[in-house]
Amino acid sequence: MMSNIGSYEQRLKNFDWSVSEQELGYKKGDPINIGWYCSDRICKMGKGSKMALIWEDFKGNNKYYTYDDIRTYSNTFADYFLKLGLKPGERICIFMDRVPELYISFLGILKMGGIAQPLFSAFGEESLLTRLENAKTSAILTQLKHVSKVRRILKQIPHLRHIIVVDAGTTALKEREIPFNMEETTRVDKFEYYKTFADTPSVLHYTSGTTGQPKGAQHVHYSLISQYLTTKWVLDLQPDDIYWCTADPGWVTGTSYGIIGPWSNGVTQAVLDSGFSSDRWYAFIEKHKITVWYSAPTAIRLLMRDGTEIVKKHDLSSLRHLCSVGEPLNAEAVLWSKEAFGKPFHDTFWQTETGSMVITNYPGMNIKPGSMGKPFPGITATVLDPISFKPIAQPGKVGLIALKPGWPSMFRTYWNNQAIYDSKFKNDWYICGDRASIDPDGYFWFVGRDDDVINTGGHLVGPFEIESALLEHPAVAESAAIGKPDPINMEVVKAFVALKPDYEPNDDLELEIMNFIRKKLSPLAMPQEIAFVKSLPKTRSGKIMRRLLRAQEWNEPIGDISTLEND
């Protein structure tokens, strides 16, 4: 089968994003609304009865939605939001497991001009509070099982006017809570979508940095132009494909490539709302005859751990193209996937701020296992010298990954934080915060983060957020959080904790602190190891030297410690 991209080298010649605009029938200055493009437009193309979403829960129960279903259900959500008094531009949070309402309400929010703010449903109340407070969110969509986390922070977020519970049934609700059952509400067949334009805000995804609380990367409706084309050329989605993106839409992959990409291409996608198990995943692929699979290195390494025998118990012959994202895909995983599935995983590099893939491996391209691949057509990527911020000409020399601004899905600001947004640009380059080198053939090779952000299981966790939460525990006097190496998740959180005088380190206290962070922030942020120390290394100005702790953990050179405080 001929791939959509054909020849990567040919596509590079005279590339212009207008290729995507033309395919989508978009002209500069026209209204552009992602919600409309992902549902109404596909129906207008005569594909209303085509399956848009095959959903399965952990018990194996299925629900099926055609493009006409997601068109009318998303209309119903949009109409409902307006009737509640929500206005275009207001932030509406989606805080749900991977239920159909998550995917469909996302389109509904965009159709009425709202800004969708998806948050990972495993977040604890503190993580939720930080993000809802920062965005001054007006409404949240959630499920009964998660509503108590909202209830506990309700007094601190007076701007949150509506808590919409999608599965309330006959359960009595509390202050500001209202039930909304998507399938029992009269469907709205016609809804005039709000006239959003290229620069109208669409999605707000929160991401973590080294300092301060998480920041909301704000995207616009024009991001569709990149998301549509990268889906078509990199994931290679074709009309008869059954596509499975394993990412949760609480993170950017789950929206860019778990909603917008496949549905703007009019492709059928399958969603599994279940925790991880190799056998469960393979059975899902077999049952729904998944053809294109977009997953993450952590999951792939878990599958590897379970070996190839279990693969042989399932008929996975439907698979034709595999991709991966979240953290660098190690060469062993690429080679293993060739052995297990007969085809390699193609690594893709991008981040919350880029909105779409920027450096990737393409169908038909020679894959160098362990490499990130090459820049997508229309993306100018390089590595910069960390001092001069000028491109490094020498192949193999490590520098900062940087992109020339201007691709359609580039974030437009950090919500309420223009200063940090501005600080991400040097010499007219956008600095990704990762280090890499480029080989003589133009392939990028990932080296690591350029800051203290912890990449665990493909998700970024900010050390400051963990340290702030640790200080809320009554026993903790001071703390530092770093990433430590982990064979499955690349990194996991390790915390160094100095206790207050009345406390003694012991196993009970360690477990108590772990659970404290898990519930307050999220399971991802929970330290998997706590080292109790008498004091933490600090600079003479009193700043904790995380760099030193990290270097010790990774057996790396300690570097300059001239500013280290003497005990």
């Binding site: 952990f58 497991d97 495993a122 009964l144 099982k145 998660h146 509503v147 108590s148 986390k149 209830r151 709302d273 279940s274 925790g275 991880f276 198990s277 190799s278 056998d279 469960r280 878990l302 751990r305 379970d306 665990t456 299981g457 998740n489 996991v492 196993d507 009970d508 360690e510 477990l511 772990m514 659970n515 898990r518 399971p523 991802l524 929970m526 998997q528």
Partner: protein, 83 residues
Amino acid sequence: MDAMKKMVLDYVIREYLEEDDDRVIKEDTPLITGGIVDSFSMVSLKRFLEKKYNVQIPDADATPEAFDTVNNIIDLVNRFLKK
């Protein structure tokens, strides 16, 4: 129900379910695939078991399948208790 089963079941309900989450958890309820305990939270559950029963569960044995139900967890702990 024996004491170990009750202890683990109570701990899972107390630590991993939200206070308003009224799902019924039994010894054969899928915890991992059912989305009650994720792979990261498994680490704290493993730590609890090791501490409570004074066992060492090797990481290679701490698989999602081994932690998927309270029954599986009990089997796992018993394997290492007997060694």
